[in-house]
Amino acid sequence: MVYTLCLLLFMIGLYGVLTQKNLIKIIIGLGIMEYAVNMLLIMVGYRHDGIVPILDRAMPLDEFLARAVDPLPQAMVLTAIVINVAVLALSIAIAMRLYQKYGTYDITEIRQLRG
């Protein structure tokens, strides 16, 4: 169920990227897609009744091993988050430059390349 909803969110983002006509809205759609994938990654790493994968002195190692959630997806998500923010920033920069050139964010008016 949770996976289904998460994938639905992914598809909503993709739908936005495919159908929106406004640069900012396309970027927003892209953001939604990326959020959905990040969440999926964390969900994959979750274990029932899990605890945070940070050791402290009070916790015996056996219990920690049995209960801690998977740390690898969390590290991957951190990487993915930074990549996403980088890409979003770059896309906003391009969108702003386009706005400066065309005076609009509407993609139907930004059409020079054809063929």
Partner: protein, 157 residues
């Protein structure tokens, strides 16, 4: 961008300092508790961002000029790369050679060899990067003159 009122500025000065401290804590204790270079670095960037929001770009740029920030950005990234390359002393890139020499005690700050150092490098890099992203995108001026849109950032290099 001009600044906001005096009240906002005063409160911002205090909160920015607190946020900065919290970010620094996250960086330094990243290997022992929640946090780490990224979380800390981003929060450090946040303290600059609220300063931009409250004081306006002109004043913040005195605190950290764009050219200096761009340089720090390179230096932070380079520091991490050099740290990784120094691992060659331990035989491999990214090998934790400091820890081989000086293992330290578990659950103490000085216990993880290059990890705290790498955290600091990453934090510097991430902080400056996000500050720069925010600064160059938010401080951009676009003014419409007839059909043409003028376009300039506050500092030209």
């Amino acid at each position: 961008m001009t600044g906001m009122t005096v009240i906002v500025k005063t409160i911002t000065r205090w909160t920015a300092a607190l946020i900065f401290l919290y970010g620094a804590y996250l960086v330094l204790y990243g290997h022992l508790s929640v946090g780490g270079g990224f979380a800390g670095g981003i929060i450090l960037a946040c303290s600059y961002v609220i300063m931009i929001l409250a004081y306006g770009g002109k004043e913040t740029i005195h605190a950290l000029p764009k050219a200096v920030a761009a340089r720090l950005d390179s230096i932070g990234a380079l520091a991490f790369l050099i740290l990784a390359s120094l691992g060659m002393f331990g035989g491999f890139f990214f090998s934790n050679w400091i820890r081989d020499i000086w293992p330290g005690q578990q659950f103490r700050v000085f216990s993880a060899g290059i990890i705290p150092l790498a955290n600091i490098a990453i934090a510097l890099k991430v902080c400056v990067s996000l500050f720069l992203i925010f600064f160059i995108l938010a401080s951009l001026r676009m003014t419409r003159k007839g059909d043409k849109i003028e376009f300039r950032s506050e500092e030209v290099d």
